[in-house]
């Protein structure tokens, strides 16, 4: 076997992950398939696609986010990015009324909401999260409280809506993997592919950003530009996953932690796809277990939160014990 080139990303680790995801997908589709086969299959393909898109988006977003914040405990969800997205949705309904919102085509609406998210999250990032970059725990706590603040603000804004408008927004604010609009799914799928492509293109710069802001600037990285690009990608990925199923806080933490462990590399060209594959696989495996094996409905997100919370606690205490 020729010696591996130490200067280039080693993508071999992605192969088993991709195989695992394919296997899971096949199992998910074929398990206990009964007549009417075509109907059930269509249903399952839709669900499969939404699970994969959401898992991949959150996994990739978390890796990028953790590099930009130089902190492996944070996820976009913990800091309240998804809450921010729901808040923006609510605010738009509040400002323009539900009827106007219903009249706008979903694609345009999604783009507008995602653009707002990018702008607001950039402002928050530079104001709050960057300032405390030296003090990791303070930054994490600030992020968490920010998330609570945004969720509070959202439910406050929701109360200002008419009951009928309230219903429109509330649909978006509870994670559910069961009912997903196919048009939204198509938009989300295409966005995901574009965003992942952009993330891979950005990967070498993210590698450099992983050295820390100071050092990265020293070796010639335009750090502010990378933060802008990376954070925009994160916002886009969070927006699409939230638009699909609603907020999922801790999934990204699990996916990213596993990706670092499994790949043992710092190269984003490997880490980002790995986290995406793992995120998708977790959701798929979880949904399969809950729905097919245990016969339970819609409790997956709760369990993911539960386990993710435990992982977070573990990482936090281990880090502090050092």
């Amino acid at each position: 076997m020729p010696l591996r080139d130490v200067h280039m990303p080693d993508r071999r680790r992605l192969i088993p992950l991709a195989l695992m995801l394919t296997g899971l997908a096949a199992l998910f589709l074929a398990w206990n398939l009964k007549a009417p086969v075509e109907f059930i299959l269509t249903l399952r393909v839709g669900k499969l696609a939404s699970l994969v898109v959401v898992g991949a988006a959150i996994g990739a977003a978390t890796v990028i986010f953790q590099t930009l914040t130089e902190n492996r405990l944070l996820t976009p969800g913990i800091v309240g990015f998804d809450a921010l997205f729901v808040f923006i949705q609510t605010a738009l309904v509040l400002l323009f009324g539900g009827s106007v919102q219903a009249a706008i085509p979903p694609l345009l609406q999604f783009i507008a909401e995602a653009a707002c998210l990018v702008a607001v999250s950039l402002a928050l990032f530079t104001l709050l999260l960057r300032r405390g970059a030296g003090d990791i725990l303070r930054m994490v706590l600030t992020g968490v409280i920010l998330g609570i603040f945004l969720r509070g603000l959202t439910s406050f804004a929701q109360r200002l809506l008419d009951p009928s408008e309230f219903a429109i927004v509330q649909q978006a604010s509870i994670a559910s993997f069961t009912a997903v609009n196919s048009q939204v799914l198509t938009i989300a799928g295409v966005t995901l592919i574009l965003a992942l492509g952009a993330a891979l293109w950005l990967a070498p710069s993210l590698d450099a950003a992983g050295l820390g802001r100071q050092t990265a600037r020293g070796i010639g990285l335009d750090h502010d530009k990378v933060v802008l690009a990376g954070l925009s990608l994160v916002a886009l990925l969070v927006a699409l996953s939230t638009a699909l199923v609603g907020p999922v806080t801790f999934l990204g933490l699990i996916a990213a932690s596993l990706a670092y462990r499994f790949c043992g590399t710092w190269r984003h060209a490997v880490l980002i796809p790995a986290a995406a594959l793992i995120g998708a696989a977790i959701l798929l495996a979880g949904q399969f277990m809950f729905e097919r094996l245990l016969g339970l409905q819609s409790s997956l997100s709760v369990v993911v939160e539960f386990l993710g919370g435990l992982l977070f606690l573990f990482l936090l205490l281990r880090r502090s014990a050092r």
């Binding site: 130490v6 280039m8 710069s205 590698d207 450099a208 050295l211 020293g218 070796i219 710092w266």
Partner: protein, 253 residues
């Protein structure tokens, strides 16, 4: 050449450097000395274009560092920083390779690989190339970061306390190497070092800049300016420069 004109840098509302003007010619080692809080690190960061000037300007090779694109800047000036906290788990070779980042952007060419190998051998790191950064001792890590800065192949090499975690043997090795590469010849570097190791400064520096409270106290050739009187005044404690075995060193007076 580096030209600094009326440079003022504020941190918050506190001036760290005030109205500072200075020129650096090519070649040799310049030692920046002075008590803690004098503004030495700030000056290095300002020269490297990493801290915005509140007033005044810094020109490297005739170009205003505030206006050069980061990639180009990193080919003119390399800076070794004091804090080297790295979240990612890198090997020494990975780290040194990042010194070439502005050239290869993640896809190292044969030339980049050559420089990386050269940097590893220059700083005695070949045996450690595949070790993880966080498994190294403080001194080994320091050398790895110096090698990264060196690999940037910049005419100007700025080092912020590179001797901090080094034992005497590695202090000597590193300083001799830096001294060697700052002599005239092909690939000559101009080196500016913030140092607290006064004996090392007395032995290896060609020029000194003494700083205190954000201002220059004195500057000039080491032989003329590094005297007991200047040092005692600068550090507010009795110091003397004496000759030992053909070189200068600093002792308490």
């Amino acid at each position: 050449m580096i030209r600094i004109a009326n440079l003022t840098v504020m941190r918050g509302t506190k001036p760290v450097l005030t109205d500072l003007s200075l020129r650096f010619g090519h070649g040799g080692i310049t030692a920046l000395i002075g008590p803690n809080g004098a503004g030495k690190s700030t000056l290095l960061h300002a020269i490297a274009g990493l801290l915005p000037a509140t007033a005044g300007q810094v020109e490297v090779e005739g170009r205003d560092v505030a206006r050069i694109r980061p990639e180009e800047r990193a080919r003119l000036v390399a800076l070794l920083m004091q804090s080297d906290r790295v979240t990612a788990r890198l090997t020494v070779e990975d780290l040194v390779s990042f010194g070439r980042w502005t050239y290869h952007k993640g896809r190292p060419t044969a030339r980049d690989r050559e420089v990386i190998a050269e940097a590893l051998s220059q700083f005695d790191l070949e045996g450690l190339a595949s070790r993880q950064i966080d498994s190294l001792s403080g001194g080994q890590r320091q050398r790895a970061f110096v090698a990264m800065a060196w690999a940037q192949e910049t005419p100007w090499l700025l080092l912020d306390e590179p001797l901090a975690a080094l034992d005497p043997r590695h202090v000597r090795d590193l300083m001799e190497r830096l001294h060697g590469m700052s002599r005239p010849g092909e690939g000559q570097r101009s080196i500016i070092i913030v140092m607290h190791d006064l004996p090392a400064a007395a032995r290896y520096a060609d020029r000194i800049i003494a700083m205190k409270d954000g201002q220059i106290v004195t500057t000039g050739p080491r032989q003329l300016k590094m005297t007991g009187a200047v040092l005692s005044d600068l550090f507010e404690t009795g110091l003397d420069v004496v000759q030992v075995g053909g070189g200068d060193t600093v002792v308490p007076a």
